[in-house]
Amino acid sequence: MIRELAKRLQFMSFTTVDGNRLDAFMQGIVERFNQLKPRDIERRWTQTMFVTGYAPALLASGQSSLPWLNACNLDSDSTDSSTPGYPTNKWRIKGTETPGIEPDQINGQQRVWAWAGEFSRPVRVNRLTIYLRTDGVNFVNSFNTGGTPPPGSLPNESLQDFGIELSVDNPFSPENRSQGSSAIQKVRFWLDQSKFSPVTLPAVTDMEPKYTVNVLNVPSLGRIIDIECDEPIPQNSRVRVNFVMPEYVPAVSDATWGEDPWFKHIYSLTVGVLEPTL
């Protein structure tokens, strides 16, 4: 039985054979191999990497929090005296709530690094990576709770308050974040599980340029959250990737993020996407 090449013309013992049938049969086969379809090819995607990141200046220089912006839109976040209908999206990210932070009670905030893309063809998101590089000197964060930990945590234990979300806008209500489809969520995980290395690594001597201070030359202190995924995204979809960092009010809950957590790391964030051949 021929299942793929010629579905309607089959030759078997005791069936008739004539020129017209054979001709049509061969025409179908040759055409099929001259016009192979994408589904005939096992690998028909191309990898692309959206690379982001920066190194903040030292605090004294007046480095702003941007691009880390509040996850919650409150009245106090608007510079206008009054705007009818504001906010249209009080909560712009789903499922990343963390104990100890209640933005609408003015008790801390969550800061979001938001990346968005629109894809006219179907794609597959296959990698979300965030590297929070610390060095113990200028960029310091041990990723632990402080003396007044958030509810549910003990003092000086690993934090579990960083969140990652990938959502797809609702095609019928694209600007309503509550209607978006949250396709990937990684929340409430121990950041200690994301150490670049469980041990203190020796300095690498094979890579130039080198950090001249040894402690800077090894990445052991930082955290790398690396999500290998395979999330299909329909064509003409709008995809949003949100990396969510906590900003506690120290009097209520404290952690080594500190009051200005965006100064604590050098950032490398990557979104990997497989796109179809055209």
Binding site: E4, A6, V17, G19, F25, M26, I29, V30, F33, N34, L36, K37, P38, D40, I41, E42, Q47, T48, F50, V51, Y54, A57, A60, S61, G62, S65, L66, P67, S78, T79, D80, Y86, T88, W115, F119, S120, T129, R133, D135, N138, F139, P174, R177, K195, S197, L201, P202, V204, D206, M207, E208, L216, I224, D226, E228, R238, S268, T270, T277, L278
Partner: protein, 575 residues
Amino acid sequence: MSQFTRRKLTRGVKLLKEHIYTPLSDIASALSSSSIESSSVRDDDMTFRVNLWFPQINGEQMYYDNAGWAAYASPDGTRQWAVPFVLPPPQDLFDNSGLIDGNTPTLFLDEVMVSFDQRAEPAAVVGEAGGSIGKISHLAATELNIKVTILEKTMQFFNSQVSEYPDGELFSGVLTKAALTGASYRTNPFAWSNLNRQVHPYKTLIAVIDCEGLRKGFGLNKSYYLTLPSFNMSMKFRHKPLLRDMAASNIQNMPSHGGEQTADTVSITTPAANSTIEADSTGGVDAETGVLDERLLKRLWAGYTAQGNVSGVDHINKDAGFEVIAVPMWSNNGGSGVVNAFGIDDVANAGVAPSTGKPIDERIIPLPYPMVIHHVMGVWNYCANPTLTGVTQGGRRPTSATMHARIGVGLIAGMQADAWAAQQVAYLDVTPATLSTYRVDQISLNQRQELTDRTVLDTMFDLFAIPLVQDGGTMGNGYVPTGTPMWASKGDSNVETRSTAGNYLNVSGNPPTGGAEQYLMVRWELEDANGLSSFGGGAAANFNEMYAGIGGNWVFIIGKKCVAGGREPVMSAGR
């Protein structure tokens, strides 16, 4: 032209094996020799993107004026964020006189996509330093008009007589304020698709972002400078597939499979002359066609596994395409967004003036699928706002003879492991004086001023090649003397044996990463033994000297990638 042909079986002719078995054998032969042409595959164009990301496009950084914002109330139309880049053919197709022949890939711009963070509101985000930064202004959003343009210019590398100014426009699009402030739909993100603009492979392309509406006091209701946080501009290109790299091309760090394609075994039994026409016995029409049918049902193979292993068999002859990874470096530094001789002591590890430390910016990029790196390019950005504190005449090149920029790209193994290692891919140590040796183009957008003595803000970039390391003395092919291409894949035990590769001193050896690289690492170091600062006796002649201008510097990692996806890992016999 079709790859496979057949003899028509017209009425009255005698049935010959050429009518049935010659085309079947031709197809089987192509399947058995990895020579199914990509033109036989519908939708065979490879795609790649140049993804430019800015932490923010900040109006205050670009437009702030010490004399008061009203002094700049009238737009001069000369202040834009820009990034020059190139899309050179891979080393095996690169012509260093810039000649295009039949083998030169023809690139098309297919799509331009733009996005930024509006906080999910039909509003603008305030970028002005102070208590309101990061807040929302609906009123000010009515002044946002974002124009994105892709310009092109003849590269000075190929014609030293050409100016530094663009000589053509490839694409231009505007996101209007109306489209950005709709309550139920906003063009953010937004993609202009099906552009189909042909791109010259040896010209410099310049992505330009123009948004006068970020200016304070420009238009109505503008009490603040605005910003476009997390601004993403992605350009998608397509082209016909290329041959993938094989060991014969002297690829460094190449797995022992050498990238060689593995032939399948597909054979057609042709019946003897004058024998009876059979259907489903050996040599029968249906049975022999079924051999091809079975191959197609199991799908045709091309490309590598995610770990960099070859498929059990390969059927498609051309399965590779361009890959460009754009890496932002030294952007979003401090309130001014620049790294210059004035504020260098605010940069980690630079030290207080005269700032003799060695600050480094670093990015890491995962390697989900294999690639072969053919070129690495750098962009040094001198763009600055002339009225920012410490910058009175616009940005310009550093002048200190002792200033060094050291740029390195490496492969890293050892994430979440108890050891780590690096294999250098490319390395460049330049001073401002020696940069011209590696420079391939100079780019400005404002034609009112010349490079060496500008008194108002200009946008100016040096685009230069960063040589790949050489495996001993083995030379590759590029803009400047460079090494042969470098393989990069995360690897497994099947591909841990690699060919030799050079280190940053171009000494050949076994790659320290041992076939297990997981990430690309990019570092850009600044150093002046006499001080990067213009204060405290530092070596900078004046504080206009830019180590990284507004929008930051860039490193472009350019190479070949193969088709990806599919079943992982490869099962026995490639199935």
